[in-house]
């Protein structure tokens, strides 16, 4: 857990950790009023708060509902800050295109991954469910994407991940990208087998993995 959150806007950190969207936006308003830098709010309070939410989730203290309400508080605060960030020319940590693979419709896990990545400072392009390999390819071509992230919840749709990776290779866009996969039936062995760069067991590790993928 983060011990060294500066006292100044700790109420923002607390509001995100507890999933209190109203308190989070109020804290942002007060900070902006006091001329605090929006980047500082994100880097020193909000991202640490979401990291701690993720840690609590990994340790089973938080579950899906808690994760989701914290993510909502984060999002509410971020919506206020985003225009200021854009105006100041700040860059996201990386850009991730995320989707549930072809044939599959389970999207709750994927949505949590998206929320955590956003909370971790990434820009997320959510491609939705039943995503065709071509759509991943088109997105990789059109937007400067650092990471392609895929989710599958059915043992019968796991092969779609392999098909997608092969299609990305065939289209010649695989090399500039990192690929991470996840979902309840997925394992590290499967990720290795199909040539994905990383596997993440939950929405919190998705963030740390994405960070190491863009750093490498």
């Amino acid at each position: 857990m983060n011990q060294n959150i500066p006292e100044k806007w700790k109420s923002l950190y607390d509001a995100v950790l507890e999933g209190n969207a109203a308190a989070a936006t109020a804290a942002v308003d007060a900070a902006i009023e006091a001329n605090e830098s929006p980047q500082t709010l994100v880097d020193e309070y909000m991202i640490p708060a979401m990291d701690d939410v993720g840690e609590k989730f990994e340790q089973n203290e938080y579950f899906v509902p808690e994760l989701l309400i914290s993510a909502r508080a984060m999002k509410a605060a971020l919506t206020k800050i985003q225009p200021l960030l854009t105006a100041s020319g700040s860059q996201p940590k990386g850009r991730v295109a995320l989707g549930t693979v072809k044939g599959d419709l389970h999207d709750i896990g994927k949505n949590l991954v998206a929320a955590m990545l956003e909370g971790g400072g990434f820009e997320v392009i959510d491609l939705g469910v039943d995503v065709d390999p071509d759509k991943f390819i088109d997105t990789a071509r059109a937007s400067k994407v650092d990471i392609i992230a895929m989710s599958a919840l059915l043992t019968t749709t796991m092969p779609s991940m392999k098909t997608t990776i092969e299609a990305l290779k065939a289209a010649g866009v695989r090399d500039g990208l990192k690929i991470m996969i996840g979902g309840a039936p997925i394992t590290q062995e499967f990720a290795d087998e199909i040539g994905a760069d990383a596997y993440g067991d939950n929405a919190s590790t998705a963030v740390s993995i994405a960070r190491s993928l863009v750093a490498s």
Partner: protein
């Protein structure tokens, strides 16, 4: 002094089982296919047995639920007794296909015998029925032999699309059913019985496809539309099933839609859903939770894919309801007490035990409404069986899916759950899980007194169909009135699901 096992003779199937004195009679009869609709709590009369030889003293529950005449005639509630000495018992459930005493379904007397088979993903149950009086002549229950190719439905569908996988699965289940029917015929002691005039099979859509040798690939991916959902028909000779008249029709009843099969359709017929004019619901909970809700006019159904938690799978110390399984955890003066199947040492916990443990944990404060264990990450419930935080989470995922599914179907019908007059709880889960526990964890939103445990309605419905002049016509007429809803298409699912993952506050239980 070690006590000698007692002999329990079962009528009318002519089978004898041995059991140690002191064993709950329910533990002896359940493996034989006898059901305990209210979970064996002396509430429903469903487990009536008649003592033909030997003695069983009537107790409080019998005074309450049975008439004086019934008691004098030897009727007892099996769930209220332990094995004492040698007895000979007639099982009420096997005498007539009508489970609920107030069922409006009258069956026609038909000359001949019939075989009803319920092909579950996990178990296969077959009964030989005398259609002249509805009595059951023999019962067989086994694990589905296809399980070797994957325990859950999706892995089985996955296996079927590999080379030769489909024919292996089809062959396995057809051979198993043929053998079970052979055993049913040989188990009958009576002579001069009329020939079998029909075999009716029910099961979910995947079982329908795999038995029928249809391509199950479309069930493996979006939009999950079955290749065919109509009835499948053969004659015994076409299937090369010996021991039955050659022309004997073998019919797999039609599916409702999506993954919801004829097991649910038959179940609905069994509880008289087709005749209802007031709002009612029907739940069949297993790995694949199926939900049906009707407002007396429209009927909607959906599958909720709860996951295997209710069957004890994916639980750290989970197991099937077999000897050594903790089946219930009761609260006792701020402490708790476990019931272990077979009475010996605890080896693990089954689905009903999990639900019951969590319900008790919530009452004791060892589990918080958020699902968090209050003290540490494990709760030792009885050496060496403990419940882990991740087990509670697994149950939250499963029960949330069921509760959310019910909520969305009811809102699509525009009726509040308080208007549901009867909620039928079908299947093995409804048989063994305690209603209080299910309500305590917020599995369904109905008031306890409106929930009716209904037992194996799939098999019962198959038997009703056997009595019908044309089983397929009966099903098709009813099936037209039911609309299948795909929950994934509902934008409100996530919200409903996530809020249903929490456990209700004590004050709101069953409200």
């Amino acid at each position: 002094m070690p006590s000698k096992p007692a002999q329990i003779h079962l009528h009318p199937v002519a089978k004898t089982v041995a059991a140690a004195p002191g064993t709950p009679l329910a533990d002896v009869l359940f493996p034989e296919g006898v059901e305990f609709p209210c979970g064996g709590r002396g509430r429903c009369r469903g487990c009536r047995v008649r003592v033909l030889a030997g003695t069983m003293e009537p107790g409080e529950a019998e005074q309450r639920l049975l008439s004086e005449k019934e008691i004098a005639d030897g009727w007892r509630l099996a769930c209220r007794h332990q094995v004492e000495g040698n007895v000979s018992l007639a099982i009420a459930q096997w005498e007539s296909p009508i489970l609920a005493d107030n069922s409006t379904y009258a069956f026609e007397r038909v000359e001949g015998l019939g075989v009803a088979v319920d092909i579950g993903t996990t178990t296969v149950v077959a009964q030989l029925v005398d259609l002249r009086n509805g009595s059951v002549l023999a019962v067989r229950a086994e694990l589905n032999r296809q399980a070797r190719h994957g325990s859950d439905l999706m892995s089985r569908i996955g296996a079927s699309v590999t080379d030769a996988g489909g024919s292996a699965l089809t062959g396995a289940i057809r051979r198993q059913v043929a053998r079970m029917i052979g055993e049913l015929m040989r188990a009958v002691v009576e002579r001069d019985l009329p020939p079998v005039r029909g075999v009716v099979l029910v099961g979910n859509t995947a079982m329908h496809h795999l038995f029928g040798g249809l391509d199950a690939e479309p069930l493996s991916r979006y939009p999950f539309e079955p290749e065919r959902s109509d009835a499948l028909r053969w004659t015994a000779s076409e299937l090369r099933w010996t021991g039955l008249p050659e022309a004997c029709p073998v019919t797999f009843l039609p599916c409702i839609g999506g993954f919801v099969g004829s097991d649910v359709l038959a179940g609905l017929l069994a509880v008289g859903f087709d005749h209802r004019t007031s709002p009612a619901a029907f739940l069949d909970l297993g790995t694949n939770g199926e939900i049906v809700a009707g407002n007396g006019d429209r009927i909607l159904c959906a599958s909720t894919a709860a996951g295997p938690a209710f069957e004890g799978a994916r639980i750290s110390m989970g197991m099937r309801a077999a000897t050594g399984a903790i089946t219930a955890v009761h609260q006792l003066n701020g402490k708790w007490e476990c019931r272990v199947l077979g009475g010996g040492e605890a080896r693990g916990i089954c689905g009903s035990g999990l639900v019951s443990a969590v319900a008790t944990g919530l009452d004791l404060g060892t589990i918080l409404a958020s699902g968090r264990l209050a003290r540490g990450d494990t709760w030792m419930i009885q050496e060496p069986v403990s419940l882990h935080q991740c087990d509670v989470r697994e149950l939250q995922l499963a029960k949330g899916a069921v509760a959310a599914g019910i909520e969305l179907l009811l809102s699509a019908l525009e009726i509040p759950c308080s208007e549901i007059e009867t909620a039928f709880l079908a299947g093995a889960f409804g048989n063994y899980v305690s209603l209080e526990s299910a309500l305590r964890i917020g599995l369904f939103p109905f008031a306890g007194e409106r929930v009716t445990p209904a037992g194996n309605t799939a098999l019962l419905g198959a038997k009703i169909a056997l009595h019908a002049p044309d089983p397929v016509a009966l099903c098709n007429a009813f099936r037209k009135r039911i609309t299948h809803v795909s929950l994934h298409a509902d934008p409100d699912f996530q919200e409903a699901y996530v809020s249903a993952m929490r456990f209700p506050d004590p004050a709101r239980v069953g409200a």
